[in-house]
């Protein structure tokens, strides 16, 4: 079953319009890369004022005119956007969760493509899956949607750190990293975030969880099956254990948020009962306040 309805492209177009209107020049995919000063294009000259960096003085102009002029540059807009999509089994425990993940990925990719950025999708679970290579132009959106549709949940657990290490080896150059995942790694997201942050990419985490994971459905004797590893636990769920579980889960969410913010990484958490457009827009908004 396709994760994208027939009107999905219209929703994407609408999303792009709204995004451009509400957050002009502040989309994460349009953010200038402060770290890529060498890859900028010459824009103009202006007069030198004391305090300017003398490395940007144009000595040719000075030789010809005896005036000190400073070169002005404009950054290159051809940004590489890497979308890291978690396709582990835990992301497909409910259809809504899987659909939300794919739609958010498609939405972010469309925004980037429509802004003439290059986009690649890297699916991963316990290890990286076949990637959608870097592509450019809105015309590629259909093939991207087909690719996303073809992704199946992979059982066996999630290993964020291992996949992050593999991605950094495979990507052609630095860019913007967007991680779309539920972060259900037994080791936690911290090792992976440390690895991804290491090469000073701009980064954002879209944390998707299902409402059923916030609290179990019922109390009593239950046999719980792990969707990823198929392990089982027999648990007598009572009000006491329920409250403890809720506390544990809440602390996990707050820990994940804390881990991102401490590393200067944008973080957006939404449950999958929220429309994907809102998630994407929230993502843009929550990253907009950052420098």
């Amino acid at each position: 079953m396709s994760a994208f309805g027939s009107d999905f492209l219209q929703k994407l177009e609408y999303l792009a319009l709204v995004a451009r209107r509400v957050y002009p020049r502040r989309l994460p995919i349009e953010r200038r890369q402060a770290t890529q000063r060498g890859r900028v294009e010459f824009a103009d000259h202006r007069c030198y004022t004391p305090g300017d960096d003398d490395r940007y003085l144009d000595w040719n102009v000075y030789a010809r005119t005896d005036d000190l002029a400073v070169k002005l540059f404009e950054p290159e807009h051809d940004l590489h956007v890497y979308l890291l999509l978690d396709v582990s089994a835990s992301m497909a425990t409910t259809p809504a969760k899987r659909q939300a993940a794919l739609q958010v990925t498609a939405g972010l990719a469309y925004l980037a493509l429509s802004h003439l950025d290059r986009v690649a999708v890297y699916p991963f679970a316990r290890q990286p899956g076949p990637a959608f290579p870097l592509t450019r132009g809105k015309g590629r959106i259909l093939s991207l949607l087909n690719y996303l549709n073809s992704l199946e949940p992979v059982a066996g657990g999630t290993d964020l750190a291992r996949c992050a290490r593999a991605l950094l080896q495979r990507r052609p150059r630095r860019g913007l990293l967007v991680l779309i995942s539920d972060l259900y790694d037994p080791d936690g997201p911290d090792p992976a975030l440390d690895i991804l942050r290491h090469q000073r990419d701009a980064m954002h985490v879209v944390h998707l969880t299902d409402p059923t994971e916030t609290a179990p459905l019922r109390q009593g004797l239950l046999e719980l099956v792990d969707a990823e590893t198929a392990e089982t636990r027999r648990v007598a769920v009572d009000a006491h254990l329920h409250s403890i579980y809720t506390q544990v889960y809440e602390s996990f969410l707050s820990d994940a948020r804390q881990a991102c913010l401490q590393r200067g990484i944008g973080y957006t958490h939404r449950t999958t009962d929220v429309p994907f457009t809102e998630i994407v827009l929230n993502t843009l908004r929550e990253s907009g306040g950052r420098p």
């Binding site: 835990s90 259900y184 994971e213 239950l222 719980l224 590893t229 007598a236 403890i244 544990v248």
Partner: protein, 1099 residues
């Protein structure tokens, strides 16, 4: 429900619901979750067990069997025939007993005795509780023997009951608790006779259970007259005051100020330091009184048999004796003076003294106390029939079995009585010793002891049937070829003559016929040890019938004692010098003697340690160095070595020992000037004051003159003449009684100028000629060459006038040749002072020699002032006269044993620190003792003197305790440094090996492991019979230690087996009847009661 077995209840309440609840497999709703990560964390936080797969449907057979077991258990009486937790063969309490609280009220002393039915050793503990409150835990390691007994001692907790519970390591009770009703604490009345309120009274009041009444010494006479009507006192304490007639009560004298018929005060010690003479003395138990300044203390000289429990160097501080069957203790220091009363240990000391005074007389006495022959080896329990409660051992629970067992027990009790009844006086003892055999026998005996009143003892027949050696006592170590005493205690049923045979390693060394009395006999025989390493002594008593007795003891033999004989000159090649006579005599008495000149004596303390005794034979004081003297003092004081100084022209005072380190060790005073018949003497010290004498030499000359003057009598005259280029009188000739002026004027001796001796000699001769004296003498001290002159003519002239000249040369620059000639012509002596610091001793010696004092060369017979074991067997009355001796003075705290005809000390001895010092003022060579050399007693006399004075044994760092339990040898070793300066510290991390030696067998070795600081233990199962010896040595390694040995006697005689075997008597029948009554009472009392099976033995 009371009939339900506890296990049945447990089963019904716990196991069954679980079986019912989980008997079938449950199905659970399944739910898939994204991850179990959070559930695991939540479960971990909730501390809940995860419910996993694994429940199985129970086996129907298992359920059926369980139900059947439940049925059986439910129908069973917990005290019934099915084995319960108490009825398995566990250890059990056989006896719990207390000593009577007659005179020792606030201390509970008793013992617990356990039985152990299995072979395996058990680690159990007995918990003593008073009214439920835990008082003490006594750990036991049980063996399958009946020796599992331990004595406890604890403060009396007050009235109530004392429970003893036997538990294992998991605190699970192994048998029913035993219970005793405690008697109330009785008070003791103390009468203090004292002038005023003193710290002593406070200390007496502080003793628990004591009521103190103080009266003035003036009122004591009146009190003692009406003492019959007044409340009787248990203890009398006299502080300072001494009554004319000693009371017939336990008495404590503190700081007596008067003499009595038992002691006299011979002096006073200022700030004496307390040294316990006997560490095991009960009054000093837990009392640390070393290094405190006691106040002025009288020096007590006691007569009769008195035990010194603590003493200072100059005299005893704490004495104990018996007067009319009552103990008397004398505490010499006054608590009101000095630091004694301010110490926390003082009340403890007073409490210990009170306890000692009130202790029953049967307690073993201390060493040094003249104990009667009966009391010497008496067991603690022998005179004390204990009040005893018996706990029937395990197996008596359950109504039917209990009855059967009780009936059997009563029958066995009767049979035991018929076969082996006890003596009346031994009844209670049998209860203690044979409690494990059958508790009821003990009950019977106890009943008999209780029934027997004071009016009935005549009914006892008192006949026992076996002759038995109960104990052999010998020193723990014996010297090769040295005599030692073997003490044998044997129990004898009837008067008879027996043949006593003592064998050493199978060869008879003593055989004699002995008449022995009924009861306990003590035989002591002196044997001479052989040189073997292990010596097995077997004692056989043969009465001529089949009733023989035999026992053995194994003793480790030590090497012969080694004696260092220090003389002034090396022994001659032919060995016929003066020292060889004594050396030969000692060698024939099995004492190793090593004669050495002073120049070859050991140069370190380690060298002195090799010898057990040092004899100094006529060595002048100036020949010693201060360091060697200090080593010798440490050797005696701290290492316990012996020291003998023999007389001679160069010994004691004439040898210049006055004011030296060795003089402190000697039991006589070296300075002795009181021979009034000597003619007065005039002496002039002619001292070189030239420029070369400046500095230290001048100071030493000053000291030398002082030392010389100190040896003169007040009527002698002395002068000091200083010379250089000219001469000057530093001090003109005047009587020595004005010696204060003389010595002060010595300080003006000024050094400077050249050296011209002749005018000074002439001036000294002129002055001496006019002096009113019988002897005239000049001592010349110089360090250089003098101007030439007619010294020969000069000295001949002086000689003609009766003036003698001696010379002392200092340093290498001195004109030794001239000085020797001067002494030769002047009929004096010439000295060369190689060591400048020895000049004062030289002067003292020279002055004494010139005055011809300090030596009496008239023949004298020896007189015995006080008999001593040292001279046992020596006919001193037949000793030939001695031709001379050195005059010395008595020291008040020394024992002067032999004196001359004039009453001067000839042989004196005392203890100095750990060692013994002896002074013999005559000699042992062919000079003064030439007639002794042919005397048959010469060798034995000196051998006995040497053996009494020498170090008993070199201190061993290992203290070994070996005992035999079942078929195992248990060895416990305490390792401590035995040598200064680390003496007393523990040796840790040693690798020790114990060897079990038996004649004709290979030694069996096993390692010892460390259990505590300095404590090593090991156990070895052996098939060797007793006796055997145990030797402990360290494995070669980084730390080695000298090996030590100990012997174990045969048969093994534990404390509770040392009593006479029981005899047949009427009391046995009474015992049995009383036992039946008590048992029935116990059964009746127990039937409705709780599970405590303890019974009170006394109603």
């Amino acid at each position: 429900m009371t009939l339900l077995h506890p296990l049945a209840l447990l089963w019904a309440l716990l196991v069954l619901p679980i079986l019912v609840a989980h008997g079938r497999r449950r199905r659970y709703p399944t739910q898939t979750v994204a991850t179990l990560m959070f559930w695991d964390r939540a479960l971990q936080a909730a501390q809940k067990r995860r419910w996993r797969e694994g429940w199985r449907t129970p086996n129907p057979l298992w359920v059926t069997l369980s139900l059947l077991a439940l049925l059986v258990l439910a129908m069973t009486d917990p005290r019934g025939t099915i084995p319960g937790p108490y009825d398995r063969p566990h250890p059990a309490i056989a006896a719990l007993a207390l000593r009577p609280q007659v005179r020792y009220p606030h201390i509970l002393e008793g013992f617990v005795r356990l039985t152990c039915p299995t072979e395996d050793p058990h680690d159990v503990e007995v918990q003593l509780r008073h009214n439920g409150q835990l008082l003490q835990v006594i750990p036991f390691t049980l063996d399958a023997t009946d020796h599992n007994q331990q004595i406890f001692e604890l403060p009396h907790p007050g009235p109530g009951h004392l429970d003893a519970a036997l538990v294992n390591n998991d605190n699970v009770p192994l048998c029913p608790a035993a219970r005793l009703e405690l008697p109330a604490i009785s008070t003791r009345d103390v009468l203090l006779v004292s002038q005023e309120d003193t710290p002593l009274e406070q200390a007496l009041i502080a003793v628990p259970g004591t009521r103190v009444q103080r009266i003035d010494p003036d009122d004591y006479a009146a009190w003692s007259e009406q003492a019959g009507t007044d409340r009787p006192k248990d203890v009398l304490v006299f502080h300072g005051y001494v009554p004319s007639a000693l009371p017939e009560k336990p008495t404590l004298f503190v700081a007596p100020q008067h003499d009595s018929d038992r002691w006299r005060i011979v002096g006073q010690m200022d700030e004496p330091i307390l040294m316990p003479a006997d560490d095991d003395a009960p009054p000093l138990n837990s009392v640390w009184l070393k290094d405190i300044a006691l106040g002025p203390t009288p020096i007590i000289a006691a007569s009769g048999q008195v035990a010194v429990l603590a003493r200072a160097i100059r005299g005893p501080l704490l004495l104990r004796w018996d007067a009319g069957g009552q103990p008397v203790i004398l505490l010499a220091p006054d608590p009101a003076k000095g630091e004694l009363a301010h110490r926390a240990a003082f009340p403890i000391l007073i409490q210990n003294i009170l306890n000692e005074l009130l202790l029953p007389m049967a307690r073993p006495r201390h060493e040094g106390m003249a104990a009667d022959a009966d009391g010497a080896h008496r067991n603690d329990n022998s005179a004390l029939p204990p009040v005893i409660a018996i706990t029937p051992s395990a197996g008596l629970s359950g109504p039917l079995p209990r009855r059967i067992l009780l009936i059997t027990a009563v029958l066995l009790g009767l049979v035991t009585w018929v076969l082996e009844p006890g003596q009346p006086g031994q009844q209670a003892q049998r209860l203690v010793t044979d409690g494990t055999r059958l508790a009821l026998v003990g009950l019977a005996a106890l009943a008999a002891a209780d029934v027997r009143g004071p009016a009935l003892p005549g009914l006892a027949t008192g006949r026992s049937e076996t002759l038995k050696i109960t104990r052999i006592d010998a020193p723990p170590r014996i010297r090769a070829d040295a005599p030692f005493e073997l003490s044998i205690a044997l129990h004898n049923p009837r008067p008879q003559a027996v043949e006593l045979t003592i064998q050493r390693n199978g060869r008879a060394v003593l055989q004699e016929t002995v008449d022995i009395e009924p009861g306990i006999n003590h035989l002591a025989r002196t044997l001479r040890a052989s040189a073997q390493t292990w010596q097995r002594y077997t004692v056989q008593i043969d009465p001529g019938s089949s009733d023989r007795a035999s026992a053995s003891i194994m003793l480790p033999g030590e090497a012969r004692p080694r004696v260092l004989l220090v003389s002034h000159v090396p022994p001659t090649r032919d060995g016929r010098d003066g020292t060889s006579y004594l050396a030969d005599a000692l060698r024939t008495q099995a004492i190793e003697v090593e004669p050495r000149p002073l120049s070859q004596v050991p140069y370190s303390l380690d060298g002195w340690r090799h010898y057990d005794l040092v004899i100094i034979d006529d060595v002048p004081a100036e020949a010693w160095t201060d360091e060697t003297m200090s080593q010798l003092r440490t050797y005696v004081h701290a290492e316990g070595g012996g020291l003998i100084m023999l007389g001679g022209p160069r010994s004691f005072g004439p040898g210049g020992y006055h004011n030296t380190i060795l003089a402190d060790l000697l039991p006589v005073r070296c300075r002795f000037t009181a021979n009034a018949d000597r003619p007065h003497m005039a002496i002039v010290y002619v001292i070189d004051a030239s420029g070369s004498m400046a500095g230290i030499k001048r100071a030493l000359a000053y000291e030398a003159c002082r030392a010389g003057l100190a040896t003169l009598t007040p009527n002698d005259q002395a002068g000091i003449l200083a010379f250089a280029a000219t001469f000057t009188w530093v001090s003109p000739i005047e009587p020595v009684r004005n010696s204060g002026a003389n010595s002060s004027s010595l300080t003006v001796l000024a050094a400077g100028g050249g050296t011209d001796l002749a005018p000074a000699l002439r001036e000294a001769g002129r002055a001496l000629r006019v002096a009113d004296a019988g002897r005239r003498h000049i001592v010349v001290l110089t360090d250089g060459h003098t101007r030439p002159s007619d010294f020969y003519g000069l000295t001949r002239g002086l000689s003609a006038a009766g003036i003698t000249i001696s010379t002392v040369a200092i340093g290498d620059q001195a004109d030794r040749s001239l000085l020797e000639h001067l002494a030769d012509w002047g009929q004096g002596r010439a000295y060369i002072a190689g060591d400048l610091s020895r000049i004062p001793q030289l002067f003292a010696r020279e002055t004494l020699a010139a005055a011809r004092t300090g030596i009496d060369q008239r023949p004298t017979r020896i007189g015995v002032r006080s008999p001593d074991p040292m001279f046992e067997g020596i006919a001193l009355g037949a000793a030939p006269p001695l031709l001379g001796h050195v005059l010395t003075g008595e020291r008040p705290s020394a024992r002067t044993l032999l004196v001359t005809e004039a009453g001067r000390p000839l042989l004196a001895t005392w203890r100095y620190g750990l060692g013994q010092c002896l002074a013999f003022t005559s000699d042992a060579r062919n000079r003064w003792a030439v007639q002794w050399l042919a005397w048959p007693g010469f060798g034995p006399f000196w051998a006995q003197v040497v053996r009494e004075t020498m170090r008993p044994f070199p201190p061993s760092p290992l203290e070994i305790k070996a005992e035999v339990i079942a078929h195992s040898v248990r060895v416990a070793v305490e390792a401590r440094h035995s040598q200064a300066p680390h003496a007393g510290r523990y040796f840790n991390h040693l690798s020790l090996i114990a060897e079990i030696h038996q004649p004709g067998c290979e030694p069996q070795r096993f390692p010892l492991t460390q259990h505590a600081p300095g404590l090593y233990r090991g156990q070895y199962r052996t098939t060797l019979g007793e006796p055997f010896g145990v030797r402990v040595r360290s494995v070669e390694g980084k730390r080695t230690i000298e090996p030590a040995s100990v012997g174990v006697q045969s048969p093994a005689m534990p404390r509770n087996r040392q009593n006479a075997p029981p005899s047949r008597s009427l009391w046995g029948l009474l015992s049995a009847v009383a036992a039946c009554l008590l048992v029935v009472e116990a059964v009746l009392r127990q039937r409705p009661g709780p599970r405590t099976d303890a019974v009170r033995a006394t109603p």
